[in-house]
Every structure is written in C-alpha cells, then in structure tokens.
Symmetry: C2
Subunit: 81 residues, 2 copies
C-alpha cells in the first residue's frame, strides 16, 4: 500500500539559526523590518508498506539515521494513505 509521508524538520528552541539571521539581515538591508525569522525544511516522499504503524516506525528510523540530527532538530512526521 502506498503512503504519502511528510517530514517537517526545524531547529530546537534556543538553537542558533544562521540561515534565518542571514535572511533577516538581508531583508533589513533591502529596507524590510522583520523579526523572529525562522526556517523549516519539509521532505515529502512516497513509501510502499503493509500498514501505517510500519511506515511510522521506518520513517522515525530514517529521521534518526539520516534526515535530521536529533541533537539539534525537532521533527514531525505526517502520514497519509
């Protein structure tokens, strides 16, 4: 059975985010005053598995091993069949 998976990856609270501070500074140089800038990465893919529990287990494993760094990242898995 084909499942559509979405993994939302963001930095944990308190972690320095060089990407967002660079964006905020660059926008400031262009004359835009913004604050609390943050960045989130989303990875979507399809996987063929027996059931949703198996998918969740595998995707969690993917996150731990490859897709993000559990020390500095939070991740959220969304599964749709």
């Amino acid at each position: 059975m084909i499942f559509n998976v979405e993994v939302k990856i963001s930095l944990k609270k308190g972690m320095l985010n060089p990407e967002s501070s660079t964006i905020e500074r660059a926008l400031d140089l262009l004359g835009y005053k913004v604050k609390n800038t943050d960045t989130i990465d989303i990875i979507t893919f399809q996987i063929d598995e027996k059931n949703e529990e198996k998918v969740l287990e595998e995707v969690d494993d993917m996150c731990q091993r490859l897709l993000c760094n559990p020390v500095i990242h939070d991740y959220e898995i969304t599964i749709n069949s």
Copy 2:
C-alpha cells in the same frame, strides 16, 4: 499591527532537485525504498504593518527580490494577524 507570515518555497514542476535525489539515494543505501521525494523550504517571520494588503505586497516583493528565484521556484504566502 503585527502579522505572522509564512512563505512556502518549492521548485517548479519538472525542475531537477539535486537535494531530493540525494536524499532518495542515501535512503536507498540504508535500505529504505522511497519514491517521488521532494523538498519544500518554509520561512516564517513577523512584520509590523498597517494592513494585510500592505503585508502581502511587501512579502511578494521580498520573494521576488531575495527569498526565492521566481524562474525556478514557486512560492506561497500565508499571512495571519
């Protein structure tokens, strides 16, 4: 008035996405069979403006000038007050 802005940036259909193909290959090496991998970037920030129309106009300008490359990217702006 403070507005919460979310900009969702993705590559246009048909564009080669080296990041997602690298992810798919790496997952394959770890033994995970996934397909149709895609990546989406989200930038969130707060902006102080008079009204929502002005915010939309400014954020669209930010997208055109800095946040993405309109030739290869699609972007979606979400504004919450």
